[in-house]
């Protein structure tokens, strides 16, 4: 599989490991021979608020922010945050929506209802995947923080990245014990691929 151009939007909350996910994914795609462009978020925008990052790759260098209506994949590490970036989905409903079912509620704020969310999503895409990444992360790995890598394992299904390449990329990001744990998280995520959501 060789890809001309592919655009991914990633969203979630500060502290969920969005930037690590982005770095590993981008590095792996770079090793696979693509021109990769990502935009990371640092600083205040990470203090618990919503974070959106982008990753584009292909045979030429793309912009650090894509156009609305052009994303091939949208990943949300927290369920409700997907609503912030649905405008990036393609109008032909082909965009893969990868949604972690983790919900972070806030005191005295209405969390979007599941009904509202599903209505919005089905109108936008025919390829929706709800992934219980937090449950896997906590139950199988005992660490909520590995949720991002569980998702990474799952999305490999759509991307031109070999297993040994992604391992190399993870190794460049995490050392020692954290490497081992994240490798496990990756495998747990890959196991989810055979399940249907």
């Amino acid at each position: 599989m060789k890809v001309d151009s592919y655009r991914i939007v990633l969203t979630g909350l500060g502290g969920q490991g969005l930037v690590s996910l982005l770095q590993i994914l981008g590095n792996a795609l770079k090793i696979e021979g693509y021109k990769v462009m990502t935009s990371e978020t640092h600083g205040l925008s990470q203090r618990g608020g919503k974070v959106t990052c982008f990753l584009s790759f292909g045979n030429k260098l793309l912009a650090p922010i894509p156009m609305i209506g052009t994303a091939d994949m949208i990943i949300a590490l927290e369920e409700s945050t997907i609503l912030d970036v649905l405008n990036f989905a393609k109008p032909d409903k082909s965009t893969n929506l990868i949604i972690s079912t983790y919900e972070k509620h806030e005191i005295e704020k209405d969390y979007p209802s599941l009904e509202y969310l599903l209505d919005a999503l089905y109108e936008i895409s025919e390829n929706i995947y709800f992934i219980p990444a937090h449950e896997v992360a906590v139950k199988s790995l005992g660490n909520l923080k590995t949720m991002n890598i569980v998702i990474l394992g799952y999305i490999l299904k759509f991307l031109p990245i070999k297993r040994d390449v992604i391992e190399t990329a993870i190794k460049e990001n995490f050392l020692g014990k954290r490497f081992e744990m994240n490798l496990k998280a990756l495998s747990e995520g890959q196991k989810l691929i055979s399940k249907n959501f």
Partner: protein
């Protein structure tokens, strides 16, 4: 973080670098001797990387300077003496550094090796800034050359070019980036690392401290009519200013002029419409290549100038078109009209490909294959604001302050106003605390409080962090002490520069940061006592004081009343470490809620609002994945329902 990757690797290999990392690599490939900086998003990673690798890379010196003014002075004198020097800051940092930069820009080092690059990282959309500031007009005021990269690879190349230009012209060169370039990560092909060309002998005569007015005016003439003129020639001939897709055709007779990150947005939008247009990409943004621009304008009926924020390019291009009497329609922001209706691109906020595409639709009357307006749907989102970390010491301060001011009001009947500064504690301006009446920029709070204290009988409280106090709060405090102005200063000493990523400041514990072993920490308490002011200190570093909140509340109450009743300036030094730094050394003692004892009063989740605490139907609940173990909820719980988890 893997810093080694910056220095390792053979020339010609490809790395996956952040724009900011590519800048560091570019500087090392230029034989840089010294880098000085003050952290600020989105520029901070440049300094952090230099700090890790500078000895290995053979550089003479790297420092976190106390502020941008000092940083540019340290680097500036090194430049005068023959070093290849670089200084880094965020956009507003340039305001602080601007005073010395005037003189620095005009002087002309005599040493062959002298070169100086000034990194200024703008933050359109003010993601992490108190104001949205486009630094480019400063280039006209300082009269210095500037380059603007449009991707990480160019970050590396333009840094090298900036050093070359500066070395040749003996003018400092600004390297201007924006958040989306500094924080973009991409494939970067590296070159050869160069060793320093610095010499032990140098000529500093008449360089740094020139007292003669006449001499300085002569230097200014040389700066404008000689050095800038040569810079203009360089800009005209530079491959950094080049026409992309020169031979492409479009039915609209349209040419585009753009620079930096806007160049990539332009390409994305053109791709979307499957449209091609010649693009004059400006990388050498000051001085602008007048001839090259004129030659480009000549070829088109319509020109679209695409730039973010201010109309730095557009106003100059309009002038060039007028001077040459070209009959070309120049589209952009119509800078002289100040009209929101006339502008095709916003002057406020970040640009993106969608905004460029919508503007193209307008200019060319395009019928896009998908209706952009329709995709741009609004959803009912859950708003989330940035909040202090779980376990942040500022939350404890906010909680105590809230209680204390109620008591002060009750006792004295006086109004109370708050002056915020720039740091994580700025978030105390948001609910549930809402402590903010006026806020300007770093270091302002203590002076702001004085302005109102001098013109009213209210109690005025300045809230400032240790990092900001060192940066620029000290003169304002001395002003208040000397004038005997009755204000209350809360100095929130969390030991680090929390907001930009826990960098050290002169008060930081030297055991806990790289290079700390080479430093001499300044004891903030001793320093304050030296001023002779009323200083009280409260210490929560050990986090073992079960009455911390009530002691702090009492202290603020007493000192607040003292300010009002005895018209005395008071400083309370609140020492409580940034929890993000503490947890890097020791595992936190996580708290849990005992459901048997919790009566769901909501104090911990509504009033303290720690993000690790949520409310389940009948009781409060602490998410053990989020708690960082500050213990404040345990102290404030009236039912003693919050307890320590036994360490596993």
């Amino acid at each position: 973080m893997n810093y080694n990757k910056i220095v390792s690797g053979k020339a010609g290999t490809e790395k996956f670098f952040l724009g900011n990392e590519a800048i560091v690599r570019g500087a090392i490939e230029s034989g840089i001797d010294i880098y000085t900086f003050y952290p600020g998003t989105p520029s901070s990673e440049v300094g952090e990387n230099f700090m890790e690798i500078f000895r290995e890379a053979g550089m003479r010196w790297v420092e976190y300077s106390i502020n941008e003014k000092v940083a540019i002075e340290v680097a500036g004198a090194a430049y005068a003496r023959g070093a290849k020097a670089m200084v880094g800051m965020k956009n507003v940092g340039l305001n602080v550094a601007s005073d010395p930069l005037f003189a620095l820009a005009t002087t002309r080092p005599k040493n062959e090796n002298s070169a100086m690059v000034i990194l200024v990282a703008d933050d359109p959309q003010q993601y992490s800034s108190a104001v949205e500031m486009d630094s480019r007009y400063f280039l006209k005021i300082f009269k210095i050359p500037a380059l603007e990269p449009s991707n990480p690879q160019e970050c590396l190349e333009f840094t090298k070019e900036a050093f070359n230009i500066s070395k040749e012209l003996k003018l400092p060169v600004i390297l201007r980036t924006v958040t989306m370039i500094s924080h973009a990560r991409s494939n970067v092909v590296i070159g050869e690392i160069k060793t320093s060309g610095i010499e032990e002998n140098f000529d500093l005569s008449k360089e740094v401290n020139v007292a003669s007015r006449v001499y300085f005016l002569e230097l200014k003439e040389d700066q404008i009519y000689n050095r800038l003129k040569r810079a203009l020639e360089m800009s005209e001939n530079s491959s950094l200013n080049r026409i992309v897709n020169e031979n492409s055709k479009n039915p609209y007779d349209l040419g585009i002029i753009t620079s930096g990150v806007s160049y990539s947005y332009t390409n994305e939008a053109l791709d979307f419409f499957e449209l091609e247009a010649p693009i004059l990409k400006i990388g050498f943004i000051n001085p602008l290549p007048e001839r090259k621009i004129a030659e480009f304008l000549r070829n088109f009926k319509q020109i679209f100038v695409i730039e973010e924020n201010d109309t730095f390019l557009e106003t100059q291009i309009l002038a060039i078109a007028q001077k040459n009497r070209f009959n070309v329609k120049i589209h952009g922001k119509d800078p002289f009209s100040y009209s929101k209706e006339n502008t095709l691109l916003p002057m406020v906020g970040e640009l993106n490909p969608t905004k460029v595409a919508l503007a193209l639709v307008k200019v060319l009357n395009l019928k896009p294959r998908i209706d952009l307006r329709q995709i741009n749907k609004k959803y009912n989102l859950m708003a989330r604001q940035a909040i202090l970390c779980a376990g942040c010491p500022h939350r404890a301060t906010g909680y105590a302050l809230q209680k204390a001011i109620k008591k002060i009001k009750l006792k004295t009947g006086k109004d109370i106003y708050f002056y915020q500064d720039i740091g994580c504690y700025t978030l105390l301006a948001l609910p549930p605390f809402s402590f903010a009446n006026v806020k300007y920029c770093m270091g302002s709070s203590i002076a702001l409080a004085q302005g109102v204290a001098r013109t009213s009988v209210s109690l005025n409280i300045a809230i400032i962090g240790d990092g900001t106090f060192f940066h620029s709060g000290i003169p304002a405090l001395i002003n208040g002490i000397y004038n005997n102005t009755p204000i209350l200063v809360l100095l929130l000493d969390n030991g680090w520069i929390g907001m930009t990523g826990q960098q050290p400041n002169p008060g930081s514990d030297t055991r806990y940061y790289k290079e700390g072993s080479t430093k001499e920490a300044i004891n903030l308490e001793d320093f304050l006592h030296g001023t002779g002011a009323n200083i009280s200190t409260i210490n929560h570093y050990e986090k073992d004081d079960e009455k911390y909140i009530s002691n702090l509340t009492k202290l603020i109450f007493e000192k607040g009343v003292d300010v009002i009743e005895n018209r005395k300036l008071n400083v309370i030094l609140i020492r409580d470490e940034c929890i993000q730094k503490t947890i890097k050394r020791e595992a936190p003692t996580i708290r849990y809620v005992n459901p048997e004892l919790c009566n769901n009063c909501g104090l911990c989740y509504n009033k303290l609002m720690c993000p690790a605490i949520d409310s389940k139907e009948e009781f409060a609940f602490i998410d053990r994945n989020l708690c960082l173990g500050c213990g404040i909820c345990e102290e404030i719980c009236p039912n003693n329902a919050i307890e320590k988890e036994e360490p596993k």
